[in-house]
Symmetry: C3
Subunit: 278 residues, 3 copies
């Protein structure tokens, strides 16, 4: 499994896919640098006048509502629909869904008007999208983990009709019928703003080179986790500032064999859930 | 004094207050990372549709006019008034006040329409808010210092009816009647964009856990200065890029006893000034 | 040559010119920190209400369309025309021109309505401004180099009626009649988002202290390249994250004699080209 997923990185390195991000003002720089480090070609563009053109030439479109406004939501929908027309995968990061009604509503509106391939969030954000109430504080809450996290992802995938990734101490991605659980990463990721946003964009880069969204997402989560672990070593416990710098270094140093064995395991879902409410 | 103020950091660590920032596009990332490093929960949100909701669940609201627009000024006022309704402290950073009339006017408009708990700026910015003319160049000017700086802060506090912090080589915070002078920090802070903006947000984090705004502000300035001094050592004279990274590391490493004795002294203001024009 | 150009850095250090940037949300922080490191005074301001005031007190105005919107294009034109009125040099970075029609059109609109002193871009961006079709992918494409790059810069300078800098493996600046070729830099610059945007702003800082735009541009490119090379050494091959931090450190460490001999050579253009269609 790890070998197959690792092979996607070679593909990414040779194709250098263009990842079109409509993202928040907090993480634009870090996201662009992370994608460049990984070997992808990032572009940020959000004017109504150009988002459709940009989305159509992209390998993936990543929508992120971290600092949303009406203009940005409209840009997300225009870009998403343009991507849908030409078969470019669209990813959604519902940053802070649940923190305010506006964020939840805007995420759901995008999900209604755009065919999204992957939604990635923490447990609290995903729970709010499915109408389950969870505590959320700011935009960084919700570690989750274990069976409950898998169940949440499965329920959300079925309800939203898209692949859903719930990330935290462990990462899960599923379309409701099958999927993967990925271990690894480091809690220092929670001390760097935009670490989750960058992961969604990294998923976008893999979705641009692999049609199976579950494999693309699993490869992204596994390699990102591996880079984070290397960054912990490289930054030697100095703190979150050094860790962030090292994370970019290590993303650039990733190779197809950077993932240790046993990092990814396939989800075995019961047929009742898999054949449920879809 | 240092011990009491240091204790506020323990409180901050255990409460992890949500700090709602409406800030400029230059410093969003650094501000969020600085607050995360400190142990607070940052959120950036500026859409009219959600700022009131976000402000009401926050521990503090920080308004920063570094790259203001009409929409942003309105968002500041909506968020500030919502915070006022529920007793959440509001801080204002009048970045570049005086550089253009628009910045001065917008700062004063916010001060008229919102009950602000602390205004923090450099000497030139604060002087412009009180109508005193000082040279200002860009948004980083005005080191100030000494008696003149204390006098300026006192005059501004009385005129604006709020606590005022004037930061520079020394930092002062006063409500016109009492206050603190804090020494420390490093001139490298002036070579990192947003070092002042982050300090205002750090003050916000302390204002969320301490009702006495003068103590909250003094704790923030003293601990921030201590972190800056540690960052100078940690970055070993390599330059402002390394210093900025180390500053985040050191903010994460702050403990309640990180402040050396003698860093903070109480202001003794003459009753004539203290009982003046309020 | 290197000595004369290096001397401009001393002038920059003593004058600390205010550089007014209207730039994209991806690079605001890095641009501001790079200018601060260099010794200039950056300011970011893009509200219609203040851009003219800011432009008039600046030493240079740098317009960058990396994440353009209608509001931003209008702000660019207002600021550019205000700068023109008082003789402040205006620089344009047409980020991603050619990637979408909107970017090309907006760049050309700015060039029609504002007297621009220097346009800086990569080969693909500049080619699109002159109507020559080149492949462009995202906003970071186009290394170019050699004779073709000089020819492109000359054609663009003549057609656009401004100095044009085409940067890549080598850097060229010309007004169509004379100019300079600058060698140096490092390919790691292509792995840091905004490395080109910052170079344009660094050119702005030099344009604020030297009326000859070709000399100002050549000094900026040569010193920036020298800083990049030092940053490669200082970051010891750790990767693009560390390189970016070191680049800021090394910009702060630049001195008038930091450029090795032979880095800059004057262009000798044939009179036919030089006396062409102007």
């Amino acid at each position: 499994m790890e070998k197959e997923l690792g092979g996607l990185l070679d593909k990414l390195h040779s194709e250098r896919p263009l990842v079109h991000n409509i993202t928040n003002t907090v993480v634009t720089n870090f996201t662009a640098n992370g994608l460049l480090a990984l070997g992808a070609s990032p572009v940020m563009a959000y004017a109504r006048e150009e988002v459709a053109d940009m989305a159509k030439i992209a390998g993936a479109v990543v929508l992120n509502i971290g600092t949303l406004t009406e203009e940005l939501v409209e840009a997300c929908i225009i870009a998403g629909q343009a991507a849908n027309e030409v078969g470019v995968p669209v990813l959604l990061d519902p940053v802070g869904a649940g923190a305010t009604p506006y964020r939840t509503d805007s995420s759901l509106r995008i999900l209604r008007e755009v065919k999204v391939s992957i939604v990635r969030g923490n447990a609290a954000e995903i729970a709010h999208l499915t109408g389950e109430i969870r505590e959320i504080k700011g935009v960084d809450a919700g570690a989750g983990g274990g069976e409950a996290q898998v169940d949440l992802a499965v329920r959300a995938a079925i309800k939203l009709g898209t692949a859903v990734a719930v990330t935290g101490r462990e990462d899960v991605i599923t379309d409701g019928a099958s999927g993967y659980v990925v271990s690894g990463g480091d809690e220092l990721l929670a001390r760097v703003t935009g670490a989750g946003c960058l992961l969604t964009s990294v998923m976008g880069a893999f979705a641009a080179v692999e049609r199976d969204m579950l494999k693309a997402g699993a490869a992204a989560m596994a390699l990102y986790g591996a880079a984070a672990e290397s960054a912990v070593s490289a930054s030697g416990g100095r703190g979150p500032g050094s860790f962030q710098v090292s994370l970019l270094d290590e993303l650039a140093g990733l190779r197809s064999d950077s993932m240790s064995e046993g990092r990814v395991r396939a989800l075995s879902l019961s047929p009742v859930i898999g054949g449920g409410a879809r």
